[in-house]
């Protein structure tokens, strides 16, 4: 069986074969070969013995990925066959490099630029607040603000393009 799994933008092929037709298996990940025995303990808990080292791991299914816990570290693992990557949320368009979007659901507090303004890379554009913390969204590059798609007090989410910035022409 072959899987194609992505963690933090890195996609790796994994090949699994059973040695005894049951839970005694061999995993080939890149150059590495792992001997794995396993048992499901509960809905979300698995017991793995990888190269004779025993580990308890936790796995739950999220919207587009599985969340996996191993010794205090968590991983988001995606299988492109199972969770085909979706286009940018809501607006359904690919996010362009000059677009400014909040990193999480939040509320707009202040808009510090207006359409037509020339902005410098790193300049503060919009202040959003979530969980009582304010964060300033900054310009990703030098350019002109061509569109502001939000207002103060609006609830916004990742993928919402709040400010569109057109790259400054070299000739200017």
């Amino acid at each position: 069986m072959k899987f194609c799994l992505k963690i933090a933008q890195e996609t790796v092929d994994v090949d699994v074969s059973s040695l005894d037709g049951k839970q005694d298996t061999e995993f080939t990940i890149g150059e590495e070969i792992y001997h794995v025995r396993y048992k499901a303990i509960s809905d979300s808990c698995l017991h793995l013995v990888v190269d004779e080292k025993s580990t308890e791991v936790f796995v739950v299914r999220g919207e587009q990925e599985k969340h996996i816990f191993i010794n205090g570290q968590t991983f988001s693992v995606q299988d492109d066959d199972q969770f085909p990557s979706r286009p940018a949320r809501r607006r359904g368009i690919e996010q362009a490099p000059g677009d400014v979007t909040p990193p999480m659901p939040s509320v707009v507090v202040r808009i510090m630029v207006k359409e037509g303004d020339l902005v410098k890379q790193g300049q503060g554009l919009i202040v959003v607040t979530a969980m009582k913390m304010e964060t300033t969204l900054k310009a990703p590059n030098n350019g002109r603000v061509i569109k502001i798609n939000t207002t103060v007090d609006a609830k916004v989410a990742p993928g919402d393009i709040l400010v569109e910035i057109e790259k400054e022409e070299k000739s200017q």
Binding site: Y38, G62, N71, Q73, T74, V127
Partner: protein, 494 residues
């Protein structure tokens, strides 16, 4: 003693207060906002009353509604927890005039100490050393900029009625000053209803050391030793410990005495915390008095064996302190890690959302004060604290290793948390040595990212989860094909 207490807070701290109430046979009333209808504190309380919409001003900050709820439910006291209305003198005053016991200091003391510049003046008079800075707050950014110019950068911009790092900014250059003031003012206005700011000189990598105090109505005051809280991000503590690695008996005596003088000078009653900054030469400066139960109070409880919430209730009910300074002893070392719904790889930006799975660590010396459960949706409206993991052990090193073990077995899936970051901090040689200063995170953990060593193991786990999907044992016995009691009972009658 009180018969019924309303807890004007949410999450882990509301749950923690209710636990002591239950142990003292006191009924509890939870209050909640729309988004918190199934929050942990609602489940823990004997009764729960909806305050209103999720916006804090319409729920947890709505003084009239809370007092009204206390009256309607017959609560004879209100515990404010920390944050929200805990340090709001108007709230305390409203309780006093409605004949409801406010579990905290009198409103005039909260007002005096909550005004950071007035507090500085009181401390100076009592002979407690203070940090050089402004003695009057203002909302005039031009004046703040001018003062900063005279003081010399870096300066600390602070909200006059601040706390918990809200409305506070370190400004290292003139260009950043105006935006920092505006942003701090706005944050402070929202969190505390007052946007006035003042400046303090920024000390170079100090330690944050605070003393827990208790003062009764009869005029007795004691301290319960120090807590070191130097590991901070955004001026908010994330790891606290006691004893402080920087402390020696004579310094502890001097600081403890100063904390008690600070308390007596302000007419303080109930539990409180006197915060100091300790510089590298061992000089200490008064920072502020937190007129509430602190987030990190459990480490003091774990090492002194004193339940601080119980003491708060006893003091509020008029009981004199049952111990004197020399009766208070402590044992071992305790560390607390705050587990926040934040992404430590993205500048600790909040990460609210649905908790898909939650399993707390257990074993010797572990306590977890927690406000979430599997299936709980962490709301974006409030502080992102999920739980406080506390360990105790005989020595600092044993406590450090125990905390690493506890963090490594604390499973929270679905939202990003600070757990992997905390593990790396605890494992760092600097933390192990006790070299903890308030700039620790910027200095050693700037641009931190998670260790990816276990990513192949994660890939294996993903696939094993697929392979076992059909054979997973679920909780309880399988229902499939089993007749229901209604089918098997037949002709029996109850």
């Amino acid at each position: 003693m009180f018969k019924k207490i309303l807890i004007a807070n949410r999450g882990e701290i509301a749950v923690r207060v209710m636990r002591t109430c239950r142990e003292m046979d006191i009924q509890t009333v939870a209050v909640y906002s729309e988004v918190d209808a199934a929050a942990a504190h609602v489940l823990e309380a004997d009764e729960a009353v909806l305050l209103g919409e999720s916006e804090p001003s319409k729920s947890y900050l709505n003084i009239d509604r809370i007092i009204d709820t206390a009256e309607k439910t017959g609560a004879d006291a209100i515990h404010p927890g920390y944050g929200f209305l805990a340090e709001n003198p108007d709230f305390a005053e409203n309780c006093e005039s409605s004949g409801i016991n406010f579990i905290g200091p009198p409103s005039h003391v909260i007002r005096d100490l909550g005004n950071k510049t007035l507090a500085r003046t009181i401390m100076e008079k009592a002979g407690v050393p203070v940090i050089p800075g402004m003695l009057k707050a203002t909302t005039d950014t031009a004046l703040l900029c001018q003062e900063a110019e005279e003081m010399g950068y870096p300066v600390l911009v602070k909200a006059v009625s601040g706390g918990g790092g809200k409305g506070m900014r370190v400004v290292s250059a003139r260009e950043e000053m105006e935006e920092a003031c505006l942003s701090a003012m706005n944050e402070a206005k929202k969190a505390f209803g007052d946007g006035s700011l003042y400046l303090e000189k920024c000390l170079e990598s100090p330690r944050h050391v605070e003393f827990q105090i208790l003062a009764d109505r009869q005029g007795n005051a004691v301290h319960l030793f120090e807590r070191e809280c130097s590991i901070q991000r955004r001026h908010q503590k994330i790891i606290e410990e006691t004893p402080s690695p920087a402390m020696n008996p004579s310094l502890r005596k001097a600081m403890g005495d100063a904390a008690v003088s600070a308390v007596l000078a302000s007419g303080y009653v109930n539990a409180g915390t006197v915060e100091f900054l300790l510089d590298r030469s061992g000089r200490f400066y008064f920072l502020e008095v937190n007129t509430r139960l602190q987030v990190e109070h459990p480490i003091t409880e774990m090492t002194t064996g004193i339940d601080l919430v119980r003491q708060q209730l006893e003091i509020a009910a008029g009981t004199p302190l049952p111990f004197k300074q020399q009766d208070i002893t402590r044992r071992g070392h305790a560390i607390e890690c705050r587990i926040y719904a934040e992404d430590p790889e993205a500048g600790f930006f909040p990460s609210p959302g649905l908790v898909l799975f939650h399993q707390e660590p257990s074993g010797p010396g572990i306590r977890n004060d927690c406000g979430i459960y599997s299936g709980f949706e962490v709301p974006m409206e409030y502080d992102p604290i999920l739980s406080k993991l506390v360990v105790t052990a005989g020595t600092r090193e044993a406590a450090r290793m125990r905390m690493i073990r506890a963090l490594e077995s604390y499973v929270i899936l679905g939202i990003r948390t600070t757990i992997p970051f905390l593990i790396d901090v605890l494992k760092s040689p600097e933390f192990a040595k006790g070299d903890t200063y308030t700039d620790f995170i910027e200095r050693h953990f700037d641009n931190w990212s998670q260790n990816m060593e276990a990513s192949n193991l994660a890939r294996i786990a993903y696939i094993v989860d697929e392979l076992t999907a059909s054979t997973k044992p679920s909780a309880g016995l399988k229902e499939r094909g089993c007749p229901t009691p209604w089918e098997t009972l037949g002709e029996w009658r109850m």
